[in-house]
């Protein structure tokens, strides 16, 4: 009763403070949802290949720079537990290299081998046909739309002219915004020789993954064999993204926290006589402390709930305004729980000093306060 009424007495002040928390929590929710969305899409992309293990060169920071040599590929292929191996190369083409006037941040370019399962999987969902020759390219539906290209038209890429032979559909966003050309062409353009970016390993017995992993990594310490569902866990840069997300969020949160602190300090200062009255009628210091902390907590819970909405709206708004399929969001119950816990802690910390100050007031001094 008293808690809610005290907050509603200064509606604008409470609302501003609530907004401060909502923005901080919103930042946590939106940035994390985008970060998690990116991770999830990438993991889904790797998982969808059906490979049990992915072999990459762990000495480089980014998978785009990974090089797995022919000798290393052959070693993996020769292992008795391995049923099949697909090699893939990968690069990101800058829009200025595409010479098209469209808002497209980048074109993901995949090198695939004709006849390989990683290419054959598109056969059922393609307008046109699969690539067969070195001057041919396939585009994902979104990439084709952005580049305004149809089968039969040409695309200049890597100072070469490719003929678009097919536009494929995919459930994976990173494939929809990408292009596929012959692996040997991409190897040549990236001056990779016969190395691959990633080796996709299909096992006879999926349970043998750990043994294969150990064999490969002990034979070639520069390589890492990663389970396809754990691809993003392997890369440190995703941790850096998480750190950036949290740093930006914490800055926003500090602003929110200062808002709570300011609101509660002003509330306590304005209500000094009232606090004196409460003490005079028998309220203990602890009860006064609890009252102010409860006000801060209620403010932060309301701000936190608003923040969940703000974060969702911001992330979804961003997704809608950004080029299609380049970003994704993912909301987990854990994210909402963490956001609400942070809001709660923020409210408690912000209200702690004002509450302590209020509880220390002597009834007599408080009652005399003008």
């Amino acid at each position: 009763m008293l808690i809610l009424k005290n907050l509603l007495r200064r509606k604008v002040r409470s609302a501003l403070s609530l907004m401060g928390i909502a923005i901080g929590i919103g930042a946590i929710v939106s940035f994390n949802a985008l970060g998690q969305g990116f991770r999830h899409a990438l993991d889904a992309h790797m998982r969808e290949t059906g490979a049990q293990l992915l072999i990459i060169n762990k000495t480089v920071q980014d998978p785009a720079f990974s090089r797995v040599l022919k000798e290393e590929q052959d070693f993996v292929r020769s292992l008795p537990a391995v049923k099949n191996v697909s090699v893939g190369t990968f690069s990101i083409a800058a829009p200025r290299g595409l010479k098209v006037k469209t808002f497209m941040p980048a074109l993901l370019v995949y090198g695939r081998t004709p006849g390989d399962p990683l290419l054959e999987k598109f056969r059922a969902n393609i307008r046109g046909r699969l690539i067969e020759g070195e001057d041919e390219i396939m585009l994902g539906t979104v990439a084709a739309e952005n580049l305004k290209l149809e089968p039969g038209e040409t695309l200049e890429l890597f100072r070469r002219t490719f003929r678009v032979v097919g536009v494929y559909e995919s459930s994976i966003s990173f494939e929809r915004i990408g292009a596929i050309l012959c692996n040997v062409v991409l190897q040549k353009e990236l001056q990779m020789g016969d190395a691959a970016s990633i080796v996709f390993v299909y096992l006879k017995d999926t349970a043998a993954w750990e043994r294969v992993k150990q064999t490969v990594e002990s034979a070639y310490p520069n390589l890492a064999a990663i389970r396809s569902e754990e691809f993003t866990l392997f890369y440190d840069q995703f941790e850096y993204i998480d750190w950036y997300v949290w740093i930006i969020s914490l800055v926003s949160l500090m602003i929110g926290g200062l808002g709570v602190l300011n609101t509660m300090l002003m509330n306590v200062s304005e209500r000094t006589r009232e606090i004196g009255t409460l003490r005079a009628v028998g309220w203990s210091r602890g009860r006064v402390l609890g009252l102010i902390l409860s006000e801060g907590t209620m403010l932060s819970i309301a701000g936190g709930l608003a923040g969940l909405g703000v974060g969702w709206a911001a992330a979804e708004g961003f997704i809608r305004s950004a080029p299609r399929d380049f970003f994704a969001t993912r909301y987990s119950p854990e994210l909402f729980a963490v956001a609400m816990i942070v809001a709660l802690v923020l409210g408690l910390v912000g209200a702690l000093y004002p509450a302590w100050q209020a509880s220390r007031l002597s009834p007599i001094e408080a009652l005399k306060y003008e």
Binding site: K5, E274, T277, V281, G282, S284
Partner: protein, 225 residues
């Protein structure tokens, strides 16, 4: 013979490191059920006396006894204020955002009463001060007289044996002041509580069982001044 409701023994209160002497050795007994009135000019020490008796503050020296129990040995004065003393201030000190009934409920928050029971008791008390029709009115919207009557109901919330009133008619006109005193004396009779009132107003003192005067921190019988 039973202990007096209030006994003060050589009560001294100094402020600012002894520079200001608010009370200079006040010793007095107030019998149970007595209406005791203290008159005196501003700054004479009346309110300070009331604050010490009401456990709002501690004396520099001397002792306050309530119902035969010394407050010096009480570590927790909050409990004394909650259950043994009901305060009525000159400026009523209601919480302006709360309704009349909610203001009366405030002291009962420390009790084990459920919210519904607290509300019923608050409504009974408001009825006893003639304000049942204003129970849902926000304190800020009440007249001066109504506020003071809510303050009287609040002072009785936890059925204390001692009611302390500091200039209860000081902030209202004389007619309203008469009504407030009538209300206060009526409810005090109902609950058979001891009443100590400090006031400038001789009309308030008119109905008191005993009147003393405070001057320069000393309490004297009114005839002595």
């Amino acid at each position: 013979m039973s202990d007096p409701a209030v006994r003060t023994v050589d009560l001294v209160k100094q402020y600012e490191g002894g520079r200001i002497h608010a009370l200079n050795g006040v010793s007095v007994d107030v019998a149970r059920g007595e209406f005791f009135c203290i008159m005196g000019p501003s700054g004479s020490g009346k309110s300070t006396f009331l604050h010490l008796v009401g456990a709002l503050d501690r004396p520099t020296s001397g002792e306050v006894w309530l119902n035969g129990r010394s407050l010096s040995s009480e570590r927790d004065l909050d409990t004394v204020r909650a259950w043994e003393v009901g305060f009525i201030f000159q400026l009523h000190n209601l919480l302006p955002a709360l309704t009349s009934a909610e203001n009366v409920e405030i002291p009962m928050v420390v009790s084990k009463l459920r919210r519904r029971e607290r509300r019923r008791r608050a409504e009974e008390l408001l009825e006893s001060v003639g304000l049942s029709h204003r129970r849902d009115a926000v304190a800020a919207k009440l007249s001066g007289g109504e506020r003071q009557r809510v303050a009287i109901a609040r002072a009785l919330a936890n059925s204390p044996g001692l009611i302390l009133a500091d200039e209860p008619t000081g902030d209202v006109d004389s007619k309203t002041g008469e009504q407030i005193m009538e209300t206060l004396l009526a409810v005090r009779r109902q609950v058979a509580a001891t009443l100590i009132v400090v006031t400038h107003n001789p009309r308030v003192a008119r109905d008191a069982d005993r009147v003393m005067e405070m001057l320069d921190g000393r309490l004297r019988s009114s005839g002595q001044l």
